[in-house]
C-alpha cells in the first residue's frame, strides 16, 4: 500500500505537532504551571542582587522563584516569591531566607528551615532576607592581605632604592669595608690597625707578658691551695677523719634515744595504770566511807544500848 503525499505530509505535521505540544505540556506541568501557587512576601533594605525570576532554593533544589520586586513607601524592598503547592511544606514559620550571591554562578534565595514541625509561614508575614555575599566577603578578606602586600612592596622598593643609591648605607658600608681591608693590608697586626699607634702596641705587648707572669704565680698558689684542700679532705672525710667519728657518735645517740623512747612508753603505761588505779581508790574510799558509816551507826546503836544497861555487855555478831 502506497501512502499518498497528502497523508504523509499530514502525518508528519500531525505527529510532530503532537510531540511538540506534549513536550511543552510536560514541561509546563513540571514547572508547576498547572499547580496552585502560594505567594509569600519577603523584605530587604536593599534590592541589590535581587532579580525577577531568581530561583528560591531549599536543600539545593529549586522550590520556587521571585515573582516581582517592589519598593514600598518606607523605602523597603518587597520581594514576592511564588512557591508551588507541593513545595510549600518547606516554608515554615521559623524559615530563614538568605540571598546567596556566590562568586561564580547566579544569585539565589536559599530557604533554611530548622524545624519542619513548626506551623507554616503566614502569607501575610514579611520576613527579612539575610544577605550573604561571596564577592564582598572575598574582597573584605583580600583587602588586608593586599594592604600587607603593598607595604611589603613599598619596603622592597625602599630597600632596592637604598641599595642602588651611590650615597646609600650599603655603598657606605662597602667603602668602609674597603678602607678597613686596605688599612689591614698596610699594618703589621690587627691591633696596630685598631689603635693606630706603634708605642701603644708595644705597651700592650709588655702588659700581656706581665699578665703571663701573674698567671703563672696564681697557678702556683692555686696548686698549693689544691694540696691543702686535699689534706683537709682526708682529715675530714678520711677513714679516721672527723666525719666518720661524728657518724658513729650520732648512730650511738640514735640507739640510746630509741631505748629512751621505750622507757618513756613504759612510764606512760605506768602512769595510765596509776590513773586507772586512782579511779579504783575512789571506789575503795567510798566503800570504806560506807563501812565507816555503818560502823559509826553500829557504835551509836551500841552507845544507846550500853547507856540503858548497867552491865554493858553485848554480843558480838
Amino acid at each position: 500500500m502506497t501512502l499518498s503525499r497528502e497523508f504523509k505530509v499530514g502525518l508528519f505535521i500531525g505527529c510532530t505537532a503532537i510531540i511538540i505540544v506534549l513536550a511543552l505540556l510536560y514541561l509546563a506541568a513540571g514547572k508547576g504551571v498547572f499547580e496552585n501557587m502560594h505567594a509569600f512576601t519577603l523584605s530587604s533594605k536593599s534590592g541589590d542582587g535581587f532579580t525577577e525570576g531568581m530561583p528560591v532554593v531549599f536543600s539545593g533544589f529549586n522550590i520556587g522563584k521571585v515573582q516581582s520586586l517592589e519598593l514600598n513607601d518606607k523605602g523597603v524592598v518587597l520581594i514576592k516569591i511564588k512557591i508551588p503547592d507541593r513545595h510549600v511544606k518547606w516554608i515554615r514559620s521559623d524559615s530563614a531566607f538568605i540571598l546567596y550571591r556566590p562568586l561564580i554562578g547566579s544569585a539565589r534565595i536559599v530557604v533554611n528551615t530548622t524545624n519542619l514541625n513548626n506551623p507554616p509561614l503566614d502569607e501575610k508575614k514579611i520576613p527579612e532576607v539575610i544577605i550573604v555575599n561571596d564577592i564582598n566577603d572575598a574582597i573584605a578578606r583580600i583587602e588586608p592581605a593586599l594592604e600587607r602586600v603593598t607595604q611589603i612592596a613599598d619596603n622592597v622598593e625602599r630597600l632596592t632604592s637604598n641599595l642602588s643609591d651611590p650615597k646609600g648605607d650599603l655603598h657606605r658600608i662597602l667603602s668602609n669595608a674597603g678602607k678597613i681591608t686596605t688599612n689591614l693590608a698596610s699594618k703589621k697586626s690587627l691591633v696596630e690597625m685598631v689603635v693606630s699607634d706603634e708605642e701603644s702596641v708595644k705597651a700592650l705587648n709588655e702588659s700581656l707578658k706581665k699578665l703571663k707572669d701573674i698567671t703563672t704565680t696564681v697557678d702556683r698558689i692555686l696548686t698549693k691551695v689544691d694540696k691543702m684542700a686535699d689534706k683537709t679532705d682526708s682529715e675530714i672525710y678520711g677513714k679516721d677523719g672527723a666525719l666518720p667519728q661524728v657518724n658513729v657518735i650520732l648512730k650511738d645517740i640514735v640507739g640510746k634515744l630509741q631505748k629512751l623512747d621505750k622507757t618513756i612508753d613504759n612510764i606512760n603505761k605506768i602512769s595510765s595504770d596509776t590513773s586507772e588505779g586512782t579511779k579504783d581508790l575512789h571506789i575503795l574510799r567510798s566503800d570504806i566511807d560506807d563501812t565507816l558509816k555503818t560502823v559509826e551507826d553500829a557504835v551509836k546503836k551500841l552507845d544507846a544500848i550500853i547507856g540503858l544497861k548497867k552491865v554493858p555487855e553485848f554480843k558480838v555478831p
Binding site: 508528519f12 505535521i13 510531540i19 511538540i20 513536550a23 514541561l27 509546563a28
Partner: protein
C-alpha cells in the same frame, strides 16, 4: 582617492538599496501570508508539495544526522563539563546551548544546504525559461503561487524539524548523562526542568520561524534576479547562498542579543 570614495559610496548605496528592497519584498510576502485569498487550491497544492520535499523526504536522513551529530556533540560537551568540574551547569548547557541554540542552527544549516539551494536554482531556472513571465501573462499571481507556499514551508519545516532535533538531543542526553555522570532519569528530568525557561523556548521557536522565512525568501529573491541567460544561474545561486548564510549569522546574533536583553 576620489574614485575610491565614489566606488565605496556606490557600493554602500547598492548594499543599502538591496537590503531595503529585500525588506520591502519580505514585507509584501509577509502580508500575503495572512491574506485568506492567498490560500487558493493551487497554492495549497504547491505548499503540500513543498513541505513533502523539504520535510518528509528529508526526515529519515535528518533524524539520522540529528542522532549521530547530536549524540556526538552532547557526549563531547558532557565530557568537557565533567573534566572542568562544571557539572552544576549541566542543565543550563543542555537547554541553553544545545537545545535552544545548536539544534535550530543544525536544522537550518541542513535545510539551507538541501532546500534553499534548490529553491534558488529553481527560481533562477524559471526566470531564465521565462516561466515566470508566462505565469504573469496568464494572470497568475507569482507571489501567491510561487513565493508564499515556499516561505510558509520554510517556516513550518524549520520549526517542526528543529523541535524534533531538540527532542532527539534530549533523548540522547538521557543516555549520555547516564553513561558519563551515572545520572538517573529522574535526576536528569529534574535538572532539565530547573534549567528550562519558557521564554528561551519561545525565543528559540520564534528564531526558527525567522530562519525559515529568510532561508526561503532570500534564495527566491536572488533566483528572481537572474537574467534570461543560463550563465546567470550559478551567479545568482552563489550570491543567494552567501546572503542566506549571512542572514543566518545575523539572526543568530540578534537572538543572542535578545537573550542578553
Amino acid at each position: 582617492m576620489m574614485s575610491f570614495g565614489e566606488n565605496l559610496g556606490r557600493r554602500v548605496i547598492q548594499m543599502l538599496t538591496a537590503f531595503a528592497d529585500t525588506i520591502v519584498f519580505a514585507g509584501k510576502v509577509f502580508i500575503r501570508i495572512f491574506r485568506r485569498k492567498t490560500y487558493s487550491s493551487a497554492m495549497r497544492e504547491v505548499l503540500l508539495n513543498q513541505i513533502y520535499f523539504t520535510s518528509v523526504q528529508i526526515l529519515p536522513v535528518f533524524l539520522m544526522v540529528s542522532i549521530i551529530f547530536g549524540s556526538l556533540l552532547i557526549g563531547i560537551v558532557f565530557q568537557l563539563l565533567k573534566e572542568f568540574g562544571l557539572t552544576g551547569f549541566f542543565g543550563h548547557v543542555l537547554m541553553g546551548l544545545i537545545v535552544t541554540e545548536l539544534s535550530p542552527l543544525l536544522t537550518v544549516l541542513l535545510i539551507t544546504l538541501r532546500s534553499a539551494a534548490a529553491i534558488n536554482t529553481e527560481m533562477a531556472v524559471m526566470k531564465v525559461n521565462r516561466e515566470i513571465k508566462t505565469l504573469e501573462m496568464f494572470r497568475i499571481d507569482v507571489i501567491n503561487y510561487l513565493l508564499v507556499p515556499r516561505v510558509i514551508n520554510g517556516i513550518i519545516s524549520i520549526v517542526l524539524l528543529s523541535s524534533l532535533c531538540s527532542i532527539v538531543l534530549l533523548v540522547s542526553g538521557t543516555l549520555f548523562s547516564w553513561l558519563i555522570f551515572g545520572m538517573s532519569i529522574d535526576v536528569y528530568k529534574n535538572i532539565l526542568l530547573n534549567a528550562t525557561n519558557f521564554s528561551d523556548i519561545l525565543i528559540a521557536l520564534f528564531k526558527c520561524a525567522i530562519y525559515g522565512f529568510f532561508i526561503t525568501l532570500i534564495p527566491i529573491r536572488f533566483g528572481l534576479r537572474a537574467s534570461h541567460e543560463f550563465t546567470s544561474i550559478p551567479i545568482v545561486v552563489s550570491q543567494g547562498m552567501v546572503n542566506v548564510f549571512a542572514a543566518i549569522l545575523i539572526i543568530e546574533v540578534l537572538s543572542l542579543l535578545t537573550k542578553l536583553l
